[in-house]
């Protein structure tokens, strides 16, 4: 089923919200938004708005494990959350006000559960969890507004919050979506960073890469699409991830500069040094 405005698409080459095929939506992010948390971030990808707080690494929380929140296995060979490395516990709360139709999602929602598990497993592989044996890194994500690319926004927000919490990672995990304008025709164009309206109509995938490499952390495709088009979509999403990576790095760098100005860290102190080198 084509989009309402798809008749306009071949003429103006524009999408429903006026973007070109390879335009990302405005990505706005802020780090350290909650003073009480060990790390926190707020991220907007267009009208998708997500907040993330990180607590930890703290001593392993028995109650949390029992409460069947998504528990990620450690990245490497560690197995359980024991001596192998820290456990990454992710909890996602989707606000009832976040989408157009007010819907209450129970705790048992499998879709949310799947998102939690995905995030937890992806982050556990990117973080150096082996530095924190027998401990828990708890992420709490709040979805304030939904307008497509939810998983991507959640992952990007978690990345920033984890950077703020100062948990070592091999590179910034970043995510973005890519789709196709129509599944049937051969001359379909790929799109990046879909909004909710496009997500409902078009086949799309969410891809997460580690930094600006081509190494895929997460690939989620939930709609029917011709096999031959997979490569195009993956390529485009990987490119989009690179621009997201650039934006996130900019956010982290600005935060670092701000900390130096504030006098929270001295320039030349180990933390600022790391930032100069890494970021």
């Amino acid at each position: 089923m084509p989009l309402d405005t798809s008749s306009a698409y071949p003429l103006a080459l524009l999408r429903v919200d006026g973007r070109r095929w390879n335009d990302l939506r405005r990505l706005h992010a802020a780090v350290r938004t909650q003073a009480a948390a060990d790390g926190s971030a707020y991220l907007e990808m267009g009208n998708t708005k997500v907040m993330c707080t990180v607590t930890g690494p703290s001593e392993e929380n028995k109650r949390r494990t029992a409460a069947s929140t998504a528990t990620g296995n450690t990245g490497g060979a560690g197995g359980g959350a024991g001596a192998g490395g820290a456990e990454v516990a992710v909890e996602i709360v989707v606000g009832g006000f976040s989408s157009v139709d007010r819907k209450r999602r129970g705790r048992g929602d499998k879709r949310i559960h799947e998102l939690q598990t995905t995030l937890s497993k992806a982050l556990a592989a990117a973080l150096h969890t082996h530095l924190y044996p027998r401990s828990t890194i708890a992420l709490s994500l709040h979805v304030l507004s939904q307008d497509g690319s939810l998983l991507a926004a959640l992952l990007n927000a978690s990345t920033l919050a984890l950077v703020d919490a100062g948990i070592p990672m091999s590179d910034l995990p970043v995510a973005c979506t890519a789709g196709l304008t129509s599944a049937a025709s051969a001359a379909d164009d790929p799109l990046v960073d879909l909004n909710a309206q496009e997500e409902q109509e078009l086949p799309f995938l969410t891809l997460a890469t580690l930094g600006d490499t081509d190494r895929v952390m997460v690939l989620v495709l939930e709609t029917r699409v011709q096999a031959a088009r997979l490569k195009d979509m993956v390529d485009l999403a990987a490119d989009a991830c690179k621009s997201v990576h650039k934006s996130l790095r900019e956010v982290v760098r600005r935060r670092g500069e701000h900390m130096v100005e504030e006098g929270a860290v001295e320039k030349g102190a180990s933390m600022a040094m790391d930032m100069d080198i890494d970021v």
Binding site: L210, D214, M217, L221, R224, Q226, L230
Partner: protein
């Protein structure tokens, strides 16, 4: 909750090193499935699938109910999975484990969201009566690769299933017993099947199909992709874990398509065999209410 027994360090090192040399402990090739067997029950819609030591039982049932108010023209189609302690001591009743949630989500995405079953054909009287098709999936024995095996069992059971024939005259809906009219098959659009790849090694460059339980415990990440034989991807999921080169995933997708074609042919053959077994004396063609349309 009893934890799943973890493989010992020796076992871990042995299996991974063997894989690096291109060998699997059960002697299979890296892209070889274990022995598949499928038995249909006496009733329609009962499938019992074994893949090596993994055994899955799927049963389809149908009943007439009222449709959801927001979808008056659609029937109801649900897949329920149950991993009982019979399959592995780490499974508990009434407390879904992560494995169970991921399995039911994957089946949901593969079979339901890809519109393999035409739910509109289940509507009898719009807004009032529709068929509710329910697939109950029981894992009888768990030796890895539950996803591929379950998907195959669900698709086999649904394609084998026949629902009672109905007719509507004016306001009255008549449901015929199998004795009165031969039951009719579901309106099945395409057969999506899953293939799961397991990755090993630091760089996740060793790719293995149909991992058994031990290999599943040791893998660094996995990638499940669903195809139908027309070459459409119905679903793809790499949910976290060690990063994999994008090109490797694309290559996996191509391999999966070949495998799915092979599995589809095998499944078609099994279904034909079963219908021959049931069709004693060639009466089926006469009894069937279907025409050539």
């Amino acid at each position: 909750m009893p934890r799943e027994a973890e493989p010992s360090l020796n076992e871990r090192a042995f299996v991974v090193q063997a894989l690096q040399e291109g060998l699997r402990i059960d002697g299979r090739a890296l892209d070889q499935f274990r022995e598949l067997d499928l038995k249909f029950g006496d009733q329609y819609g009962v499938a019992d699938l074994t893949l090596g030591k993994t055994r899955i039982f799927a049963k389809v049932s149908a009943e007439v109910t009222t449709p959801y108010t927001d979808r008056p023209f659609d029937g109801i189609f649900t897949i329920t999975t149950e991993l009982s302690p019979m399959a592995s001591p780490s499974f508990e009743v009434n407390r879904p484990t992560e494995t169970e949630i991921m399995l039911s989500r994957l089946l949901e995405k593969t079979v339901r969201r890809s519109n393999a079953l035409d739910t509109e054909s289940l509507c009898l009287v719009s807004g009032q009566k529709c068929w509710s098709i329910r697939v109950d999936l029981h894992v009888l024995s768990h030796d890895g690769n539950l996803i591929d095996a379950s998907c195959l069992a669900v698709v086999a059971a649904l394609r084998h299933f026949r629902k009672p024939d109905t007719s509507i005259e004016g306001e009255t809906l008549t449901i015929y017993t199998p004795a009165e009219r031969e039951p009719v098959p579901l309106s099945w659009l395409h057969s999506p099947l899953c293939v799961t790849f397991s990755f090993f090694g630091e760089e996740a460059d060793i790719v293995v199909m149909d991992a058994n339980l031990l290999e599943e415990q040791l893998r660094v990440t996995s990638f499940t992709i669903s195809f139908n034989k027309h070459g459409e991807i119905c679903q793809g999921a790499k949910l976290g874990g060690t990063t994999v080169e994008a090109m490797t995933l694309i290559k996996c997708a191509n391999d999966a398509l070949d495998k799915v074609k092979e599995l589809t042919t095998w499944l078609d053959l099994k279904l034909v065999e079963d219908s021959k077994r049931r069709d004693k004396g060639g009466l089926m063609a006469e009894l069937s209410a279907e025409n050539e349309r």
